[in-house]
């Protein structure tokens, strides 16, 4: 059997099985359910030591199905009030619950549970990655640059809130659907960005976060009431960004900026997929969301055969629209960066003086890095060096630090003054 076919099989299967069993037994038994699913993997390892079955996924599904009766006994023994069990399954037989359609439906219910407004955003992300994507607390902590303890606490709080507030395991309807759908998209967007923009050493973890966000938005788009211009635009955005993922970091774990990325590594099929989604996101005079604008910016970069031919004017327009729709310090900083690219140094300066580096938190180095770029373009080497030093002092991550140190070398070496022409 091809190794590719079973990439992440256990992890994905974990999410599927936990979702279905939760639908049958209820969210209050989540921990017991997670343990039971974990158990089927241990059985699988032992059974597969000698021969991997032709269809591992079907094997695991069958194993989970067999656990239903066990679980029923176990939960009943733990909780005498559990007489209402199977309520979720009364209209559907257990077997039907395990059909592809119902599996997807159950997973969507879990996504909506994870993104319930009663949970805070950080809990939502941790809970989604655990329950839907099958990451362990340790894996989540390395992906989100938090400690394992912090993640465990977030998971505990999320489970507690879900129980206490009696959150229903369902896909909301009507007006609620629209509000809650937007929140789900936001959480998927955040998970994706954690992967795409994070400064993690480990390239693999980042790819996995991006991959998960993509997988979940695809699941989302399969369901008709969830398909809307915004979800298509977010999907397009993820495709466009993902197309560049391989070229962003080299084998030595060094960051490569878009100027120096090997554009031949950009993954064409994802660009196509993104374009198709983009077209769908614009059908029927759709309302333009921030996802649309961010996707448009990403597409503009992909469109340029080389860095020189990047259409910065067009990118500037998109950023201005984005800042108008959803003002943010990052967008403003990006506007200044594009101004610098376009040699509109006065406009860049006007924007930069409005910004307060403290609003960027741990990323204040981005502000100083941009200032350095500005002064350097003004041929003010002294101020350029002062700011690049500030940026280097503020940055945490070693690969970004190396990137900035390289930049400092370029600034201080006079021979390189033609670098930006």
């Amino acid at each position: 059997m091809e190794q590719n076919n079973i990439d992440h099989l256990f992890r994905h299967q974990f999410g599927k099985m936990v979702s279905i069993l939760t639908r049958i037994f209820g969210l209050e038994h989540l921990e017991t359910i997670e343990d039971a699913v974990q158990d089927t993997f241990i059985t699988a390892i032992k059974a597969w030591q000698y021969k991997i079955p032709d269809n591992p996924e079907a094997w695991l599904t069958a194993a989970a199905k067999n656990r239903v009766i066990d679980l029923f006994r176990k939960i009943k023994a733990e909780d005498a009030r559990a007489s209402k069990l199977y309520s979720g399954a009364t209209t559907l037989g257990i077997s039907e619950m395990f059909s592809r359609y119902e599996i997807e439906d159950s997973q969507l219910r879990m996504i909506f549970t994870a993104c319930h407004p009663d949970l805070n955003p950080k809990e939502q992300i941790a809970f989604a990655l655990r329950t839907i994507s099958g990451f362990s607390a340790r894996e989540i902590s390395s992906g989100l640059l938090s400690s394992e303890e912090t993640i465990k606490k977030r998971l505990q709080r999320a489970r507690k809130t879900i129980k206490q507030n009696n959150i229903a395991f369902e896909i909301p309807t009507g007006q609620q659907l629209i509000i809650r759908r937007d929140r789900v998209l936001e959480v998927l967007y955040l998970i994706f960005n954690e992967g795409f923009h994070s400064n993690l050493k480990d390239k693999l973890v980042r790819k996995e976060l991006c991959g998960e966000a993509l997988r979940l938005i695809k699941l989302f788009l399969k369901k008709k009431p969830l398909r809307d211009p915004k979800s298509y635009a977010l999907f397009a955005l993820m495709c466009f960004h993902s197309a560049r993922l391989e070229s962003k970091i080299n084998d030595k774990n060094e960051i490569i900026d878009i100027k120096n990325q090997n554009r031949k590594l950009w993954y064409f099929p994802l660009m196509i997929l993104g374009s198709e989604a983009m077209n769908k996101s614009l059908e029927n005079k759709a309302v333009i969301s921030s996802y649309h604008l961010e996707a448009a910016i990403a597409a503009e970069h992909l469109r340029a055969p080389n860095y020189k031919s990047t259409n910065w004017n067009s990118i500037l327009e998109w950023y201005k629209k984005l800042n108008h729709l959803q003002p943010s310090i990052y967008t403003k900083l990006n506007i200044a960066i594009v101004n610098i690219e376009l040699n509109e140094l006065d406009a860049a300066h006007e924007m930069l003086v409005l910004l307060n580096e403290n609003d960027l938190g741990k990323r204040s180095y981005l502000y100083f890095g941009t200032l350095a770029e500005y002064y350097w373009k003004k041929k003010d080497t002294e101020n350029a060096l002062t700011n690049i030093n500030l940026a280097i002092a503020k940055v945490n991550n070693t690969s970004e630090q190396q990137y900035l140190i390289k930049k400092r070398e370029i600034i201080s070496s006079n021979s390189n003054t033609t670098y930006y022409k």
Binding site: I6, R11, Q13, F41, A47, G134, F135, R138, E139
Partner: protein, 115 residues
């Protein structure tokens, strides 16, 4: 050629709390090891064992429920393999996947009685 029994000791995945991804990785390693041995034609038999068990002792045939040892000494399964000598059997055991998790292999030669 002699027969050797490789007993797998310790590394209880359940107790170690491995993530699904890590478990899948383990499975891949077990499978690769088994394939390698199959290709070399050295495996005679092998079985995985449940962690629990029963023990009957004494004249009264008293039954106790297992496990009887600490999990780090629990036998999780075995292979019987063909090898020239201990040296050869130890070579086969190099690919056991769980050394990094605190697991180990005990190698015992199977006695073959001449008729």
């Amino acid at each position: 050629m002699k027969d050797f029994m490789l007993l797998f000791i310790g590394a209880d995945y359940q107790e170690l709390g491995l993530s699904p991804e890590q478990m899948q990785e383990r499975m891949g390693k077990w499978f690769a090891w088994n394939q390698k041995m199959q290709a070399a034609g050295v495996v005679k038999s092998g079985e995985a064992l449940h962690p629990g068990g029963k023990r009957i002792t004494g004249e009264n045939r008293t039954v106790t429920d297992g496990p009887f040892v600490e999990s780090k000494e629990l036998i999780g399964g075995y292979y019987v393999v063909k090898a020239e000598d201990y040296e050869g059997a130890m070579k086969i055991a190099q690919d056991f996947p769980d050394y990094d998790l605190g697991g180990g292999v005990e190698i015992r030669e199977v006695i073959v009685f001449e008729q």
